[in-house]
Amino acid sequence: MGLETENQEIEKSMRDTARNLLKEKQVDIIIGYTKGTVPLSSSPIMINKEEDVDKFIWNNLCYVNLAKYLVPLIPQMKDSEGKPYKIGVISKGCVGRALIHLAVEKQINLENIKIIGIPCNGIINRKRVEKEVGEKEILEVSVSDNNIVVKGKDFEHSFAFEDYINELCKYCKVKSPPSAADACIGECQEVSSIEDDFADISDFEAMSSSEKWAYIEDLFGSCTRCYACREACPMCYCSLCFVDQNKPVWFGKTTDLPDIIVFHLIRAMHLAGRCVACGACTSVCPVGIDLNKITRKLEKIVKTRFDFTSGLDTETLPPMMSFSMDDKEEFMLEED
């Protein structure tokens, strides 16, 4: 049921590292990925016993951002002496970025967390593969020779790996945790800044506002407001989300198109300078809404305007947590 890949080397060394960390009591718990209940999926798992580490897997379907499991849980996780647990997190690039950014926002203390870096080469876009296969039931998935092979009862499809990974993964520059990884599996490279020309969204930006609006209406037309994107997002940790707030009622709670678009617009606004481009929101969407364009735009705004990329280091203040007298203000209205 899992994904058989050439990653087995990495998988093995990940298990060894995890076993050692648990044996040496460097960590109390390790959060990682395990097999999902259906093909084309994976689940998060928390392991605290050496003998269980073989449950860990690593493949191109590990789409969950594990940093999500730390934020509301941390205060409760203390041992019998009242000391906080040491937690190991199997971190691909975006999990590492999320952890670092959460530390900048003072939500977690990196001293209690061990980042176990693991290089990632992209997450398979499940929705697109499922769409291509259609109604038929997928029973087995494997990745070999840059092809995703999907097998069912009486069919076998093969998809090019590069074309069927998440859009965001194609432009990902941080394959392994950018810095401060305490243990590394495979090759981890340090990243201190990112160069990107954002050419992929320039076509969209050049469109007229009515074309853009038509795209947005079409994109969110099927949204049911299940809030799966919010629940999967490592940065959406507010105890009361603005859409759940009813004193005052800011925005409608219906599934009318304007209300849906407002939800996504404000969620994007709240993620400006915080989004780590992990694509978890897109991976978990039950109706397959692809939010990558908005994520890329957010990255572009903070990069071009404030020269900031979230989750690369713990020193730089994110743009929405600081201000400067010298910000660009070319958008301000001036007299003719």
């Binding site: 609006w213 947005i216 800011w250 606004m269 735009k297 705004i301 929405m320 209205l333």
Partner: protein, 152 residues
């Protein structure tokens, strides 16, 4: 005409149509600037409805987006010039917020002129009137706000 409902497009063609613009003015500069424009008897279009806020930093992006969903045709946000803020840095914080919100709104397909940001001090009655004239002209060209407006 027998039609009891008038489509927004038809209203736009009607020369009588005047945009309704909501203006968020900061208490210390722009509100006083608007007041000065008034007492100096400077003429400007009666298209704006003013909401007085303590500082431009008080303006939550929610205000702006809710104004759009409530059907305002245009929005003006005005505060003190950078460096003149009564609370020292409120308008600098607001400026970052507006910069991001403006780009996002544009990305979502809201026309650029729908939401306008400006600075006007308490002594700039003339400038305030001119900028309101300009905003009214921009919004008038765009026509009524139909995109976000909720249909009941």
């Amino acid at each position: 005409m027998n039609e009891t409902t008038i489509e927004a497009g038809q209203v736009a063609n009607n020369k009588e149509w005047e945009p309704k613009i909501i203006a968020f003015l900061c208490n210390w500069c722009s509100y006083a600037g608007a007041d000065l424009a008034g007492v100096s008897r400077i003429q400007y279009p009666p298209s704006i409805r003013v909401v007085r806020v303590p500082c431009s930093g008080r303006i939550n992006p929610y205000f702006i987006i809710k104004s759009l969903t409530d059907g305002w045709d245009g929005i003006v946000i005005s505060g003190c010039h950078p460096g003149d803020c009564h609370y020292l840095s409120g308008n600098l914080v607001a400026r970052r917020r507006f910069a991001i919100l403006r780009e996002l709104l544009e990305f979502f397909g809201i026309e650029q002129g729908r939401v306008n940001f400006m600075w006007a001090s308490a002594a700039e009655g003339e400038r305030f009137a001119n900028l309101i004239k300009k905003t009214t002209r921009i919004v008038k060209e765009l026509g009524p706000n139909t995109k976000f407006k909720r249909r009941w």
